[in-house]
Amino acid sequence: MEFVDNREDIFPDLRVNIGSLEIANPVMTASGTFGYAREFENLMNLHRLGAVIVKGISLHPRPGNPPPRIVETACGMLNAIGLQNVGVDRFISEKMDYLAGLNIPVIVNILGDSLAEYREIAERLVGVPGIAGIEVNISCPNVKKGGVAFGTDPSMAAVVTKAVKEGADVPVMVKLSPNVSDITLVARAVEDGGADSISLINTLIGMAIDLKTRRPVLANVIGGLSGPAIKPVALRMVYQVASSVSIPVIGVGGIETTEDALEFLLAGASAIQIGTANFINPRVSEEIVEGISKYVVDENLPSIRSIIGGLSINDG
């Protein structure tokens, strides 16, 4: 057995660490854009993913917003899904078996209306097989209560983080809203609150108007802007936050290509999430894993980790 050459297993070495969680490669699918993964099983090889983050789960089922819920904008889209989901109990009973069977890390995105709800969702997920982490959504613009205030007020963000940490038995990633004056304040607050990692950005709040009807296009009036349009904002915030905290940062916002993904790693992200791009090319996440792999080989990198935060800034 000692003669088996294992280099093929670790070369190219794409593994990254999100705190105590080691994942096979830095590519995750973003919450709300990949269903419960099963939707993609015939379209790509799910086993190639670094991790799957599932649609946001609340304590009780939510019907979501009335239609229209989405509208395309320039190089982006607005969504006001309104966190339609089956609630944590049905999520565990109906969705987790399949997800656990995939043998890839599953991160559950959660959202509550109150501190107590956040903590309770985390508690219900305790001991459920297959869950590798929790992503706390404190930033969804599409629910009226709580959500927004939690994400824009650093001290509230810290308190929510603490509540989830107390309830959870897995690492906790907190997902930040970009709709704030100083993202580093919120980031440091959730770090102090005990977050194991930070993901950003959620969507920017936007609006679209139908000139013919003179009404907002979305029934919910406002929605969350995602897609390539927001990539410059996401990259800037990832860079700022990665420079401000010492926990791992996961970058998300407008990633469509391997190059996009690598730029986020250079900016300081330990991993990335792919959102809207899944709608355009359902195989995109696998293709980006392949692309990153090729990059590590072509550039002769010891591992993908060697470029994380590798951005050079000219002080000249």
Partner: protein, 262 residues
């Protein structure tokens, strides 16, 4: 359920009227798997704008690995699609959704209004193939004016089913609604009505079916980002008070499951 993301070569572009086009695409996997009433999502350009794919019903498939879409230029995506040239390659994703559930033992009335005619050619073909004889089935095509209906009529004639035609302005066929023609038939509860067209048309069709105790299947539209259940964008309220998703549970629904304003 097999879905494919295919690089399809455009083999033919037909302009059927001022704004209506028909594309023929070489796409063996999709055309092989497609069922009447299903749709595809097409990327209309190479760049990041327009960003999202656009949904189009499968107009018909052919045994040699091709399928067609029939569409109208209404905005930027369809405008780009109308400029496509034979030989170009497009990214096509499908077949998607639940198509029509063909009732083999029930006489069919197929109703297509405007662009709603698009999926009905595939449906008519499938019904006739399944039944071998469909001379007791009906098809009713309607539109605002001649150019919305006439260019497609020959394609429907080949099956030998009874054809009714209507235009709002009377420039072709009966002057009035497809529902006038529907009502003029000797309707009985055994019929299954399959309809696709503007919402008000489908609402009227459904109300006729309801009073006549006929089965009614409709193909509805919704704004879509993904077309395959990932985004939850394409919601539509059901009679049960819960949302259903047009891309997964539709686009073809039993009309009675949905809420109709009329």
């Amino acid at each position: 359920m097999s879905q494919y993301q295919e690089k399809a070569t455009v083999s033919r572009v037909e302009q059927l009227s001022a704004k209506n086009y028909r594309l023929t695409l070489d796409s063996p996997d999709i055309s092989g798997a497609a069922k009447a009433g299903q749709f595809v999502m097409i990327r209309t350009g190479l760049a990041k704008d327009p960003l999202l794919r656009r949904p189009f019903s499968i107009h018909q498939t052919s045994a040699n690995g091709q399928f067609q879409i029939y569409f109208k230029v209404v905005g930027r995506g369809t405008d780009m699609l109308a400029r496509v040239k034979a030989g170009e390659i497009m990214s096509v994703f499908g077949p998607l959704g639940r198509g029509f559930r063909i009732k083999k033992n029930s006489p069919a009335i197929i109703i297509g209004g405007g662009l709603g005619i698009a999926p009905m050619l595939f449906l008519a073909k499938s019904i006739c193939r399944l039944k071998t004889d469909c001379s007791n089935d009906h098809i009713i095509l309607g539109g605002r004016e001649r150019s919305e209906v006439e260019p497609l009529v020959n394609d429907f004639r080949q099956f030998g089913l009874r054809l009714g035609l209507a235009t709002d302005d009377g420039s072709y066929g009966h002057q009035g609604y497809v529902t006038d023609l529907l009502k003029s038939l000797d309707l009985h509860p055994g019929y299954t009505v399959y309809a696709c067209g503007p919402e008000p048309m489908m609402a009227r069709v459904y109300s006729i079916c309801k009073s006549g105790s006929m089965q009614c299947q409709v193909s509805v539209e919704s704004v879509m980002a993904c077309g395959m259940g990932a985004c939850l964008g394409c919601s539509r309220m059901t009679k049960k008070g819960t949302y259903t998703h047009v891309c997964l549970n539709g686009p073809v629904f039993n009309a009675e499951e949905l809420i109709w304003n009329s």
